[in-house]
């Protein structure tokens, strides 16, 4: 469904004096993502995972390589195809508070993408919004509220409702649970899993949290300095990763089991 082929993106930092600094954010990345699968992209900041998310959602254009979604090139200029891409690829951002217009009611926030892609009457739209709110675990009455009246977890559910409103095929989760409390994170992950089982979404889960990945994802791609250094088709294989970067990620987890902590401390010292 999603095919990344030899994609590269370089940023040029302009300086007033002296040379321009070039940063190769993404270097010849290639991988595929099938329908209904959740692929986690794991890496530290600066690894290129955020840039990859931006390239797939269309915020940035790759300097070389091809990104194909359902055989449509992301760089297409055809209006019909562009609309298809906009409808089928959605994103849930990291900070739910800045991801919504604070002056808009919840129902208008969710209706926004629907107005672009679905031809529904006012009544049908309202019905669908109510359905979506219930599906993401909120109440119908929340449609009338404003963002500041909801908690972080509830607001993130609203952005998820907005993302699934157009019945997309791929949802990019850009560090979407980082800023939430631990139990709330679990509830959001459960919700996303349920939606995947019911509606068959694919997820691109961009994160640096390996624990969340092992609970939620199906496949994992470890990125470092713009390249995919290791790719796992089975998330249960995470403890057996072999690449030095993967192993460093494993070693920097913070377990709560005392024996694990001491054994990890031993590893870290060496």
């Amino acid at each position: 469904m999603l095919k990344i082929q030899q994609v590269s993106k370089t940023y040029r930092k302009k300086r007033l004096f002296g040379e321009h600094e070039t940063i190769e954010a993404v270097k010849n990345m290639s991988f595929t993502l099938k329908q209904g699968v959740c692929l986690a992209i794991v890496g530290e900041s600066g690894s290129g995972k955020t840039t990859l998310g931006k390239l797939i959602i269309g915020m940035e254009k790759p300097d070389s390589g091809i990104i194909q979604f359902d055989h449509i090139n992301l760089a297409t200029t055809c209006k019909e195809e562009k609309k298809q891409l906009q409808k089928n690829i959605q994103i849930v951002f990291q900070d739910c508070h800045s991801a919504v217009n604070p002056k808009m009611k919840i129902r208008d926030i969710i209706a926004e993408p629907m107005n672009c892609h679905l031809q529904l009457t006012k009544q049908q739209q309202l019905e669908k919004i109510k359905e979506l709110l219930v599906q993401v675990g909120l109440s119908e009455r929340d449609a009338q509220k404003y963002p500041h009246q909801l908690s972080g977890g509830q607001l993130q559910r609203v952005t998820i409702a907005r993302a699934i409103a157009t019945d997309p095929k791929l949802i990019i989760l850009d560090e979407s649970i980082n800023s939430l409390d631990i139990l709330v994170q679990i509830s959001i992950l459960k919700l996303l899993k349920k939606l995947q089982q019911e509606r068959g979404f694919s997820y691109l889960f961009i994160t640096h949290d390996l624990h969340a990945v092992s609970l939620f994802a199906d496949e994992v791609a470890v990125v470092d300095q713009g390249e995919v250094v290791e790719f796992l088709h089975d998330v249960s294989q995470i403890p057996c990763m072999t690449h030095p970067i993967s192993q460093r990620l494993l070693a920097s987890r913070l377990p709560i089991n005392r024996q694990e902590i001491s054994s990890l401390q031993g590893e870290q010292v060496s």
């Binding site: 915020m59 609309k83 959605q90 994103i91 800045s98 919504v100 002056k103 926004e112 892609h117």
Partner: protein, 267 residues
Amino acid sequence: MKKHLSLIISSLLVLVLVVMALFAPWLAPHDPYTTDIANKLQGFSMQYPLGTDHLGRCVLSRLLYGTRTSLLLASGVLFITLIISIIVGCLAGYIGGLVDLVLMRICDVLLSIPDFIFALVIVGALGGGIKNMFVAISFVSWVGFARIIRNMVRSLKESTYVQYARLTGVPKRKIIRRHILPFVFPQIFLLKLIGLGSTILLISELSFLGLGVTAPMAEWGMMINDSKTYLMSEPTLMFIPGIMISLTVLIFNWFGDALRTAMDAKI
């Protein structure tokens, strides 16, 4: 209650001015245009509370009608410049690129000329009269605000929810209407209210030079101009409109300031 004392008092004073302007025909004891040479240059009396001018016209009536002129003109300028600066600011800020460059350079050039001089030049070119003065002041006033709006729009454009709207395919005009204008409008309206005092001053300045309103219309600046010759013999003829101008500008400045403080507190 205590916190908003400033706002309450200044709003009341603004209300007084507005009432004076709206109900001038009923409040004024005499017709401001009727001349009565026999009674010219009279001091304060029961019949003429603030005396008469060199043509025997009632000063108080002319003062009240002057309020009308100033406030009406200033409001008109506010309305027109609001529209123009929002259009220019949004275009420059949202579209960016060449459009932004051209529009902002035009603003830079216009801003480099002092307001008063520029208005003077325009009125000089178009000729005097109330309509041309209105055009001149409007032309001069929109520029600074356009720049402010453009900067606001640029930073709003970077907000996550605007990015989302663009990525999802929401058309530009809808984005500007729903995501940009609701934030730009209150701020800019406030700024303009604060600037109302300066506009009134500009109106009086031009009228003082005889380039604004024409006789026999009542306007404070023109009243000062008319009474130049009588400075020594009847100084009140000059002072009264002068004080009125100062008070009005002060009241509007105070009101704008208090409003801004109250709105900041809410944020």
